[in-house]
C-alpha cells in the first residue's frame, strides 16, 4: 500500500542523501520525494511517497528515526491530511488550438503562466489524480514538456509537527 511520510530533518548538508541512501541501501521504494527548508531555515521538511506492507513501512519509519539528523517522522496516510502537487506543462498552442488549451486550463482551475505565439505553459496544482487528468486532456493537443514536483502533504487540524520539540534547546 502507498504511504505518505512527512519527515522533519535538520537542514544540513547531506541530509537528503542520508535519507535517499537509506532507501537504496535497504531496498525500500521511493515513489516521490520533495524537500525544502521550512520555518527558520534550521529544519527541512521532506515529503516521501513510498509503498510496502505494514512491516516494511514500520521498518522504514524506524530506520528513518535512527538517522541522527532526523527529528520527526509521521505517517500521514491514515490521518486526515491535505496533499498537493504542482505541475508545469508546456503545450503546443497555435491558432485554433489556443482556445481549447485555455478551456482545459480553466476546467482544472489552472493558470497559463507563459505564452508564446506557438506555446503555453500551464501551471496546475492539486492532487496527483487531478494533475494526471489534466495531462490526459492536454496530451492530444501536443505536450512539449512536463515537470512535476511530487507531493507535499500536511496533517489537518491544529496540531503542529514541531510541537513535541518545543522544550528541546535549539542547536547553535
Amino acid at each position: 500500500m502507498k504511504h505518505i511520510l512527512s519527515v522533519l530533518v535538520e537542514n544540513e548538508a547531506g541530509v537528503l542523501s542520508r535519507v535517499a541512501g537509506l532507501f537504496s541501501a535497504r531496498g525500500f521504494n521511493i515513489d516521490g520525494l520533495t524537500v525544502a527548508p521550512v520555518g527558520d531555515g534550521e529544519t527541512s521538511r521532506i515529503t516521501l511517497e513510498t509503498y510496502g506492507d505494514d512491516n516494511i513501512i514500520e521498518q522504514i519509519i524506524k530506520q528513518l528515526h535512527k538517522l541522527v539528523p532526523v527529528i520527526q517522522v509521521h505517517d500521514l496516510t491514515d490521518r486526515p491530511h491535505v496533499e498537493r502537487e504542482l505541475m508545469l506543462v508546456k503545450v503546443e498552442a497555435e491558432r485554433d488550438m489556443r482556445a481549447e488549451v485555455l478551456r482545459i486550463a480553466d476546467i482544472f482551475r489552472s493558470r497559463v503562466v507563459d505564452a508564446t505565439s506557438s506555446t503555453f505553459v500551464v501551471e496546475v496544482t492539486g492532487s496527483s489524480d487531478k494533475l494526471d487528468a489534466c495531462l490526459n486532456l492536454l496530451e492530444p493537443l501536443g505536450v512539449v514538456e512536463v515537470v512535476r514536483t511530487g507531493k507535499v502533504a500536511m496533517a489537518r487540524g491544529a496540531k503542529r509537527m514541531r510541537e513535541g520539540l518545543k522544550e528541546a534547546p535549539v542547536k547553535k
Partner: protein, 565 residues
C-alpha cells in the same frame, strides 16, 4: 583559551578520557600528529602498518574495554583503507571514533591530491559521520561523535577534518556535560508495563529459553543476566557475538545456537514455548529458515535499537531499552515470591534438553598422527585456564574457537561476527593487548585469514605486544572448502592455499618467535613454550586438512535440520 584545530582535537580526545590512538600519518593530518607528538606523555599513538589494521585495533580495544576506540588516518587512500574497519565495527555495534584527514576546505570537490569523499563513502557503514567545514564546529562535532558512538546502539562515527581547519585558531572551552542533540534521543529505560508483561509470560512458561547476544556485553549487563538466569532456572544460549555474557561452564548454558551452534541449543529453540531474546538481532546465521524458527514460542525481545525489533521475526512483547537497566528492572520481579512460587516445574524440559545433550554434538576424535584443530583449541583453553582474551579471524577456526574455547567472562572474545572480516584478528588482538598489557591475548587464526593483515606483526614487535598467535594451518580456505564439499560437489575452486609463507621464517623476519607443530604430541609443548615466551609468538599448527565444522545447519534450512558428524 585560543587553540589551533589540532590542539582542539587533542584536548577533546583527552577530555573524553582517550589514552590510546591507533593510526597512520599522512599529509592531511600532520598538524594533528605534531600535536600528539608534543603530548605523548598524555596520549599514546600506535603506528599500524595499514589503516585497516589501525581500525581493527581500535575495535579490539573497544571490545576488550567497553570504551570508545579511536583511530586516526589521513585523507584519500588512508580513509578508504579504513572503510573495512568501519564496516566491521558497524555490523557488530562497536563504539568507535575515526578521525580522517581531508584536503583543505578550498580544495574539496576539486579532485585534489589524496582527496576522497569520505563522508559519502562511509555514510552506509557508520552510525553517523561529519565533515567539519568550520573551526567553530570542531569541538562540538568531536564531542557529539563520542556521544553518538557510545550511546544507544553503539557504533562507529567518522569525523572528517580538512587540513586547514587543524591549523586555524579558535577559542576552546572545556566541555560541560553531554552534548544535547535535539534529533538524537536514544531510549535507555525499558517500558515498565512491557517488562511486567514479559515477566508474566516468563512465570508461566513450561519450556522457556533465553537467547542472548552481543547487546548484553555492549551494555555491561553480564552480571545481571547471570543472576536473573540462575534465579529463573531456564536454559540459556548465546549467539556468536554473545559468548562470555554467561559462563560457558554453567550447567544452564546449552551452548551457542545457529548455523554451527550445538544440537541442544538449536533443538531447544525449535521446541521452546517462550523465547526471551536479549540484545540479539535474529541474524540469518542464527535463525536458519525463518518460518520455522521457534515455531512454538511466544517471543519477548529486548533491544536498544527499535529497528532490530520485529525486523526478521515477529515479536509478541517488544521492549526497547538498554539491556542493563531493563534487566535491573526485571531481576527483582523474577526474585519475587509471586514469580518463584508460580513458575512451572522445568524438570521435564531439562530432561528433554539432557536427551539432546547426549548427542554430544561437538565430539571429535584426536587420532595419533594428525592434529585436530579442535584439540588445539581445547589445549589452548586448558593451558590458559580459560582466561585468555581470544581474538579470531573468520572461517572454520573461528567456529571451532567459538565451540571449544569456553568463555567464562565478558569482553574476552573478539571476533568479526556481522561482517565476517578476514584479517580482523591480529590487529584486534593487538588493540586488546594495548588495553590489557598484563593479560594473555591469543589470536586463533587460519593461514588464509592470517595472510590478510600479517604486516601488523611489525606493530606487535615495535610495541612489545606479546600476542600468542595460533595458526590452524590446513592449506585450505577451510570454510570455503567445506561449503564446496557440501554444496558444489567437492569442486575446490580457488580454495586451496597452494603457497603459504614459511611462518617460522616470517616470525623471525618480524622479530617474533616461531614454533611449528605437525604431530599431536607437539601441541601441548608448543603452547606451553609460547605462553612462557615474552614477546609475540607464532604457533604454526599443521592440522587435519579435511576436517569440517560440525554440527551445521545448511543455509536456508531449519535449525532442527542439523547435519551432525
Amino acid at each position: 583559551m585560543q587553540l589551533n584545530g589540532a590542539q582542539i582535537v587533542v584536548e577533546c580526545l583527552l577530555e573524553q578520557g582517550v589514552k590510546s590512538v591507533f593510526g597512520y600519518p599522512g599529509g592531511a593530518v600532520l598538524y594533528i600528529y605534531d600535536e600528539i607528538f608534543k603530548n605523548k606523555e598524555r596520549i599514546h599513538h600506535y603506528l599500524f602498518r595499514h589503516e585497516q589494521g589501525a581500525l581493527h585495533a581500535a575495535d579490539g580495544y573497544a571490545r576488550a574495554t567497553g570504551e570508545v576506540g579511536v583511530a586516526l588516518v589521513t585523507s584519500g587512500p588512508g580513509a578508504t583503507n579504513a572503510v573495512t574497519g568501519l564496516a566491521t565495527a558497524y555490523m557488530d555495534s562497536i563504539p568507535m571514533v575515526c578521525i580522517t584527514g581531508q584536503v583543505p576546505v578550498a580544495l574539496i570537490g576539486n579532485d585534489a591530491f589524496q582527496e576522497a569523499d569520505i563522508v559519502g563513502i562511509t555514510r552506509s557503514c557508520t552510525k553517523h559521520n561529519y565533515l567539519v567545514k568550520d573551526i567553530k564546529d570542531l569541538a562540538r562535532v568531536l564531542r557529539e561523535a563520542f556521544y553518538i558512538a557510545r550511546t544507544g546502539r553503539p557504533g562507529p562515527v567518522v569525523v572528517d577534518i580538512p587540513k586547514d581547519i587543524t591549523n586555524q585558531m579558535f577559542e576552546f572551552t572545556p566541555a560541560s556535560g553531554d552534548p544535547v542533540i535535539r534529533s538524537y534521543k536514544p531510549t535507555s529505560e525499558g517500558h515498565t508495563g512491557q517488562i511486567r508483561k514479559a515477566v508474566k509470560l516468563m512465570a508461566n512458561a513450561k519450556r522457556p529459553l533465553l537467547y542472548t547476544g552481543g547487546g548484553v556485553l555492549l551494555s555491561n549487563a553480564s552480571d545481571e543476566l547471570t543472576e536473573m538466569t540462575r534465579a529463573w532456572g531456564a536454559p540459556i544460549t548465546n549467539t556468536l557475538m554473545g559468548l562470555g555474557a554467561y559462563p560457558a561452564s554453567d550447567k544452564q548454558f546449552v551452548g551457542m545456537l545457529g548455523m554451527h551452534g550445538t544440537y541442544e541449543a538449536n533443538m531447544a529453540v525449535s521446541r521452546c514455548d517462550l523465547l526471551v531474546a536479549i540484545g540479539a538481532r535474529f541474524d540469518d546465521r542464527v535463525t536458519g529458515k525463518i518460518s520455522e524458527f521457534a515455531p512454538e514460542a511466544e517471543i519477548i525481545h529486548v533491544d536498544v535499537d527499535p529497528t532490530s525489533i520485529s525486523k526478521n521475526v515477529a515479536v509478541d512483547v517488544p521492549i526497547v531499552g538498554d539491556i542493563k537497566p531493563v534487566l535491573e528492572k526485571m531481576l527483582p520481579m523474577v526474585l519475587e515470591e509471586k514469580f518463584q512460587s508460580k513458575k512451572p516445574d522445568l524438570t521435564d524440559w531439562w530432561a528433554e534438553i539432557d536427551q539432546w545433550r547426549k548427542q554430544d554434538c561437538l565430539r571429535y576424535e584426536q587420532k595419533e598422527d594428525v592434529i585436530e584443530a579442535q584439540f588445539v583449541i581445547q589445549k589452548l583453553h586448558e593451558l590458559t585456564n580459560g582466561n585468555a582474551i581470544v581474538a579470531t579471524d573468520v572461517g572454520q577456526h573461528q567456529m571451532w574457537a567459538a565451540q571449544f574455547y569456553g568463555f567464562e567472562k565478558p569482553r574476552r572474545w573478539l571476533t568479526s561476527g556481522g561482517l565476517g572480516t578476514m584479517g580482523y584478528g591480529l590487529p584486534a588482538a593487538l588493540g586488546a593487548q594495548v588495553a590489557h598489557p598484563e593479560e594473555t591475548v591469543v589470536l586463533i587464526s587460519g593461514e588464509g585469514s592470517f595472510q590478510m593483515n600479517l604486516q601488523e606483526l611489525a606493530t606487535a614487535f615495535q610495541y612489545r605486544l606479546p600476542v600468542k598467535i595460533a595458526i590452524l594451518n590446513n592449506g585450505f580456505l577451510g570454510m570455503v572448502r567445506q561449503w564446496q564439499e557440501f554444496f558444489y560437489e567437492s569442486r575446490y575452486a580457488e580454495s586451496v592455499m597452494e603457497v603459504t609463507p614459511d611462518f617460522m621464517k616470517l616470525a623471525d623476519a618480524f622479530g617474533a618467535t616461531g614454533i611449528r607443530a605437525t604431530h599431536p604430541k607437539e601441541v601441548v609443548p608448543a603452547i606451553e613454550k609460547a605462553l612462557a615466551t615474552k614477546g609475540p609468538v607464532i604457533m604454526d599448527f599443521h592440522v587435519n586438512r579435511e576436517a569440517n565444522v560440525y554440527p551445521m545447519v545448511p543455509a536456508g534450512a531449519a535449525l532442527n535440520e542439523m547435519i551432525l558428524l
